[in-house]
Symmetry: D3
Subunit: 138 residues, 6 copies
């Protein structure tokens, strides 16, 4: 590819264009639970664009935003997923949070706090998810 | 009342017993949005126990727990309420968070993060709630 | 219409066929909040079949079933709608329940019980709905 | 049964009366996933009226309505169930849609579209459901 | 512990203070599904306060309230959990309701009624839960 | 800006990079309800990135995908938002669908179909939303 790049704006566009997938892949892999390529391979026959949107938007545009520090981002993610009862994704992010050094006790406390808003069943299901994740890590 | 209190355990029981309502009232009033007594008066004819449970459990037992620092508690609250679409309570806690010095930009960022999990409608509704709250504060 | 009806089965079929709308209309009107014909008129241009399904199925097939006594049916309805946060329909059924002699205190207690499952925001919203309904009735 | 049927209205009533269960059964069996009688047998001890309402109302009154063409009905069903996270029913209708010739790629695209509204967890869960259904069909 | 208790108010405070956990434990064990101590042991490492809040608030403060008779409380619980799709907790309370003498047919009828509000998928999932519970009890 | 673009790949990257906001803006404006710039202006103080993500992802990446024809996309959107009870966004898309020539009767039929899955309250709320939108258009 031969390009005479004389504009910093084009330089940043090139970087940005290439990076949504890269940024998202890096962010996903910080959780140390699944590799971006593995996610893409798992779904390329079923839904070719699924993994692309997850990595580019959810992990690239949103989860990698530096506006909130990384610990806060993970705790907020766990709060939202607990309230929603999204157990599969909750366990994924619990693994990620623990890998990043967030203490399981903090996760337990987030769940109890959220339970006042989303009710005792959601609190119980999320606490069970945490228990399963901790067992898997032994 | 005459009691010979020789047990520290009884001393703490007395403190705890009297304090669930007090602790909860103090915590509620930190939001600087509504006074505990006003809440109780508003509902005493309709549902005598409603305000009691809200203050004793939600604000007393749960929201006042020191396990997470107060900023984190408020941000997690906003995250859960955004995911749940609980607009009334969301606006209340947005007011409280702003009164406690959390920047509106942080709240906006929490909403965008949660929106990846609970969808664009919830993200839009919560952003609108923030806009209304900021307008009310002008 | 001339028919030689010699079969009890046909007789019951005629009764059933004619009655789904009638049974549903009678059940709806027991709430004493809205008349079946008014409901049908309100929606006949927008969605001709909407009122028909609401009256025939929801009120006819389901709400009029004698399996549970009528008080229990109303209390279960209020419980489900509280848990779901379906405020519009909740107020309708609160009006109906009060018209049928269920005490507002019982409704308040149902809401507090359900709130342990669906969380404090739903408990607050439903209690507010009850307060509004009681004010409208003064 | 001897009836002197001189009224076309009665003729159509007889047809309608007998047909809610028949119409519903035919519609259910178009999915080619389960037979109406099997559904009824599975639940007749636990909940005698359950299968009746599912077949008569959901499949009879609603899913068989010709207002929308059959492909559209299936796609809307998949959209709603994806948004609701109703995985069991979603897999049933995915099987039915595929049996009726809707391409799996179209289903994947519906899920991605709905995911913008109901969030990435619902999009992931529905895509996983599609993957499982496709594996079952190999 | 030596105390000269001359105040009935203190006497009742002592009773109340000690009893939230006791009252809750008694209420939980009426379901005859799990013992309070077993619940606490199961979660004491993962989330030390989880079981305490469940027992003290959900079962102690809320579920043991005599305002509604015990049968009604169980039926309302089943209604709310059906509407919410909270299958784990629903099965627990179904077991408890059956242990307390509520007939499975009543539970089936509650589910069908709630299904008109929360939709056929929730009705199907709850009916399936009932079927599984009844099978476990054979 | 001077660039020697000799690579078709770079040419398409430039097009893509510049276009997510453009593509999204065009798609949003097809609804003929609000202009992209107006949306951005409305939220730039409250949440600077909100409108960007809505336009780039929801309308750019997702709603403009040609995989499903445009009518189908709108009908699926209405189905999902009805099931979710997202009334604000539902009214927006109802306006858009009507502007694009979809008949109100089709929208009414989608709502009735979805109501079998998400329940009668959601069916009623969506039908009311349609009624309000049609009134606004007179």
């Amino acid at each position: 590819m031969i390009t005479d790049v004389t504009s910093p704006r084009l330089a940043s566009k090139q970087k940005t264009e290439k990076s949504r997938l890269e940024i998202g892949s890096n962010q996903l892999e910080k959780l140390q639970v699944i590799e971006a390529k593995a996610l893409q391979d798992a779904y390329k026959d079923v839904s070719p664009n699924f993994a692309k949107h997850v990595i580019e938007y959810a992990f690239g545009d949103i989860l990698s935003r530096p506006a909130l520090d990384y610990q806060t981002r993970e705790m907020i993610t766990i709060a939202a997923l607990t309230a929603m009862g999204a157990t599969n994704q909750l366990k994924l992010h619990m693994q990620g949070a623990l890998n990043l050094g967030i203490h399981s006790r903090e996760i337990a406390d987030i769940i109890i706090l959220v339970g006042a808003y989303s009710g005792f069943p959601s609190m119980a299901n999320a606490t069970n998810a945490l228990k399963e994740v901790l067992n898997e890590r032994k």
